[in-house]
């Protein structure tokens, strides 16, 4: 029996998303498919699986991503699905602990990838937003009142960048003492 849940996470809450997917697995629902704010689950034994997700450098069908996905699968994990550049894996808890990253450096790199992606989106939204508001105020063009939406998105995204930078700072501090 499949169960679909619609739920949205901000990109910078990817760790909360992962935690929620693990909690679902602990309750007996393991992820089998992903889409835009859409998660598909199948019944499993409670605690049978662990779920992990990450942002790739390229689209999932890119040869480099394909190579990476099969590399992870060789270690006993299953590729559940992908959405945009995000990939989702699951692994049976009976096969041992499941992590995609085992040191600070690779976790910091992963954060950098996410930060870079959001910076690009924020910059685009702030630019479009301000340009449209400029048109709205100086040329009274009513069509461009969407500028507020872009501006709001840009500001929300900036908040996300700030949260991720805080996370990265903590990892970097730890990395100065431990490996």
């Amino acid at each position: 029996m499949r169960k679909v849940i619609h739920k949205c996470f901000f990109v910078w809450n990817f760790d909360k998303e992962e935690k929620w997917l693990c909690e679902m697995a602990a309750k007996g629902f393991v992820l089998v498919g992903v889409g835009f704010c859409r998660y598909e689950f199948e019944k499993c034994d409670p605690g049978e699986y662990d779920v992990r997700l990450q942002l790739l450098n390229n689209r999932p069908n890119h040869p480099e991503s394909q190579h990476y996905i099969s590399f992870v699968e060789e270690t006993g994990a299953e590729h559940v699905g992908s959405y945009c550049k995000w990939v989702y894996f699951r692994k049976k808890t009976s096969e041992g602990a499941f992590e995609l990253f085992s040191d600070f450096e690779s976790r910091i790199k992963q954060l950098n990838r996410i930060i870079l992606m959001i910076i690009f989106l924020v910059a685009a939204n702030l630019y479009i937003g301000m340009y449209n508001l400029f048109l709205l105020f100086f040329y009274n063009s009513e069509l461009n009142s969407f500028g507020f939406v872009n501006l709001a998105l840009g500001l929300i995204g900036s908040f996300g960048i700030w949260k991720l930078l805080k996370k990265r700072k903590k990892l970097k501090n730890d990395n100065q003492i431990f490996e």
């Binding site: 990450q54 990476y68 099969s70 590399f71 992870v72 060789e74 270690t75 006993g76 994990a77 041992g96 602990a97 992590e99 995609l100 990253f101 085992s102 040191d103 450096e105 690779s106 790199k109 992963q110 490996e179």
Partner: protein, 102 residues
């Protein structure tokens, strides 16, 4: 860069690749060598393998058509790095034991 310490992950990867292994083999070998302490995660290992190939410390073996798994092995340059690291670790251990009385 000559006196830089290797990360634990890189140290165990190089040590494991003194005989050819594929990715999962490296993870298992590092775990075995360290008595279960070092658990290399797939994403971290993948990144490290690519960096080590770029540096020329390890190389990918020509792919075997019967299996899709790629095998890797240490190069001469990698062996030299490894012996230097062992020397450095010996110094750390020696000083620690001499001062704290190991």
């Amino acid at each position: 860069m000559a006196n830089m310490a290797l990360t634990e992950a890189v140290y165990y990867i190089l040590l494991s690749l003194t005989k050819p292994l594929h990715g999962y083999g490296i993870i298992q070998n590092a775990e075995k060598l360290s008595g279960g302490r070092v658990k290399l995660a797939a994403g971290t290992l993948y990144g490290a393998i690519n960096s080590l190939i770029e540096k020329g410390w390890i190389e990918a073996l020509p792919e075997d058509k019967s299996s899709r798994k790629k095998e890797y092995v240490i190069t001469q340059a990698g062996r030299e790095i490894l012996s230097k690291e062992i020397e450095r670790l010996r110094e750390l251990l020696h000083n620690g034991e001499a001062i704290l009385g190991g």
